[in-house]
């Protein structure tokens, strides 16, 4: 569903030209769980921005669900981000003055949905992440893990084609990390493609496929067997509900 071919992104200053991505190619099929790894400065964030239509690139091509991204207007890109992509950020990026419900609602507000429709989607999203009882709490009243789960709810409430996760567990302790990863796997099982950007090899192992980035280029491919916990109804999924 996602096909990048020889994508390059260059950051120019007066003196220096840096290739954040250098002739990067990647193909992702629907339902895949791909991890993009690499040290800091390797271009992971740039990849994320490009893949998520947050930034434009300089050369190459990027087809998203068959559409050439370069031909899209800003409004069309916004629409794609709204309907087809879900984002999960390292620092959660919840809006501090809105409660949990309103935070999850934000992307839904940018679509033509009826109030009832929105309510339903938000309800099931919060159910999935296990925070339905906290719908009216403020982000400052939640732990880091809970906040990230709200962010996940926000990302999936619109039923996107794929999720882009940027170091989703970077600010969490190990217990919360596990919960979040379990949730992501669960979502992947439900059919959503997931692109996970991380520097943590442990996390990367939970994906089906790894892509390793160094200096904007792929240096390594690694394919894994599906993780043993994928498909199991107990264990991780159960832990997420607790």
């Amino acid at each position: 569903m996602l096909k990048m071919q020889d994508v390059s992104k260059i950051y120019r200053t007066e003196l220096i030209e840096t290739y954040a991505l250098r002739r990067f190619s990647l193909e992702v099929t629907p339902g895949e769980f791909v991890a993009i790894t690499g040290p800091s400065g390797s271009g992971k964030t740039t990849f994320l921005n490009v893949a998520g239509l947050l930034e434009e690139f300089d050369s190459g091509s990027y087809l998203l669900e068959g559409r050439d991204v370069r031909s899209l207007s800003d409004d069309e890109r916004s629409r794609l981000r709204n309907e087809r992509i879900g984002f999960i950020f390292q620092s959660f990026n919840l809006i501090p003055d809105l409660d949990v419900y309103d935070n999850v609602e934000v992307p839904l507000r940018y679509r033509r949905l009826s109030g009832a429709d929105r309510r339903e989607r938000i309800g099931s999203a919060l159910e999935l992440v296990g925070l339905a009882s906290r719908a009216r709490h403020m982000p400052s009243q939640l732990s880091g893990g809970q906040q990230q789960r709200v962010a996940i709810a926000r990302a999936i409430a619109g039923d996107p084609a794929f999720l882009l996760a940027d170091e989703p567990t970077g600010n969490l302790d190990s217990l919360m990390s596990r919960q979040v990863m379990d949730l992501l796997e669960q979502i992947n099982e439900m059919g959503t493609t997931i692109l996970l950007v991380t520097h943590d090899p442990e996390l990367a192992r939970r994906a089906q496929r790894n892509v390793h980035l160094v200096d904007g280029q792929i240096s390594d491919f690694r394919a894994y067997e599906p993780h043993p916990s994928v498909g199991g109804a107990t264990g991780a999924a159960g832990a997420a509900r607790a």
């Binding site: 947050l54 981000r81 984002f87 990026n93 309103d102 934000v106």
Partner: protein, 405 residues
């Protein structure tokens, strides 16, 4: 197009300090704007009330005799003869007071002899050319005849009244409600009678700031000897100033027993009378403009501040699918809510101020039309002030969301 009002409002209420400060400014601005606009319009209307007088083309000359040789009647005759012969002069008359100047004479008139006194009524002495000099229109009856013009009162003869008078329509209505005042008789303080032979309309007397500036009557009498005499001279349009120079040059030297105090256009006196009002207008307009400017500045500053402190949020919203115009709309809605709060409070404040002004300072009650106009104007200006910051917000790139610093 969903309006996002509810969540925007909730967010606003949680973080309200900036919003409250701006709303307070807007409230004060509205109270000032509505009341100031009202007062200014009132004053302008007052200044532009129809006077019936050909203000632009009339000169006022004051002549004062000071030696023992000076003879009022002869002097007036000579001067008027000269003035009426000057080219460019339509008519000239001698009078005791200057219309619209806030200075003059009043007399008390009643409609039955020995009746308890009514209020004082403005009176103006003129001769048979008086009405033409002022340019006022007779709507009924006739002008004074030359033979009806009484000689001036003297120091031994102060109480002399006149046989006929001409009244303003307003005065006629006051003295004889719903009747034709023509032919009716009135009595003065000393119980002398006069018959009303003419009615003019519109006309304003010498006290524009009085309670009834349109209640005035004209006396056919040469001005008395106690104070200087004033001549009113009406010129053809455009010739006023040249005639003024000519007249002054001639009259200053034509009679050594008197001094010419001034030759001035009637507009000088009118402007002087209304100086307080026009100053008030200027001050009000200036301060109102400043008030609006400072308030707009406050709105702009808050909007800019909000944008600059929320770049991460803007980036996130864009990342989850907001278009540029959704971001603009978000900030305009937020600003709109603040403006609405301010405007609502401002209405209460404006009405309270208007009421207080009307009670304590006898200004008329604020007309709601001005309040509504003020609300719309301020609201519009406020949104305009927030427009540029909102545009800047929309320019925040979505990639801000993934930055970690």
């Amino acid at each position: 197009m969903s309006l996002d009002i509810r969540p925007t409002l909730s967010a606003l209420l949680r973080n309200r300090t900036g919003a409250v400060l701006v709303a307070a400014q807007v409230a004060i601005a509205l109270a000032v704007l509505a009341n100031a606009a009202y007062i200014v319009v009132q004053r302008i209307e007052k200044i532009n009330r129809p006077t019936g007088i050909d203000e632009q083309n009339i000169l006022v000359i004051e002549s004062e005799g000071f030696t023992g040789r000076f003879h009022q009647t002869t002097s007036v005759q000579e001067d008027l003869a000269y003035l009426r012969g000057v080219s460019g002069v339509i008519a000239a008359t001698a009078t005791n007071s200057v219309p619209l100047s806030d200075g003059g004479d009043n007399d008390s008139l009643v409609t039955r002899p020995d009746e308890p006194r009514h209020g004082y009524i403005n009176d103006i002495e003129i001769d048979e050319q008086g009405l033409d000099t002022l340019g006022v229109k007779l709507v009924a009856g006739r002008n004074f005849r030359h033979e009806e013009i009484q000689p001036p009162r003297t120091k031994t003869d102060i109480s002399h009244f006149v046989p006929v008078i001409i009244v303003s329509r307003e005065l006629g209505e006051y003295l004889f409600p719903h009747q034709n005042p023509l032919g009716k008789q009135v009595w003065d303080v000393l119980n002398h009678a006069a018959t009303i032979v003419g009615v003019v309309d519109p006309v304003m007397g010498t006290f524009p700031h009085g309670d009834y500036p349109g209640r005035v009557f004209f006396l056919p009498r040469l001005p008395d000897e106690f104070i200087g005499v004033r001549y009113l001279v009406r010129t053809r349009p455009g010739q006023r100033d040249t005639v003024a120079r000519l007249i002054e040059a001639q009259l200053v030297t034509s009679n050594p027993d008197r001094v010419i105090n001034y030759v001035r256009p009637l507009t000088y006196f009118k402007n002087l009378s209304y100086l307080g009002d026009s100053s008030m207008e200027i001050f009000l307009l200036t301060v109102t403009a400043l008030v609006i400017a400072v308030t707009a500045l406050g709105v702009f500053a808050l909007a800019t501040f909000n944008v600059s402190t929320r770049t991460k949020q803007i980036g996130t919203r864009r990342a989850v699918g907001a278009r540029r115009r959704d971001i603009v709309r978000y900030f305009l809605i937020e600003n709109g809510l603040i403006m609405s709060g301010g405007v609502l409070t401002g209405c209460a404040l404006a009405l309270a101020a208007g009421y207080w002004l009307s009670v304590h300072y006898a200004l008329p009650r604020l007309d709601l039309y001005y309040l509504v106009a003020g609300v719309l104007a301020l609201w519009g200006i406020g949104q305009l002030a927030a427009w540029q910051p909102a545009r800047r917000a929309a320019a925040v790139p979505p990639s801000v969301a993934t930055r970690t610093v």
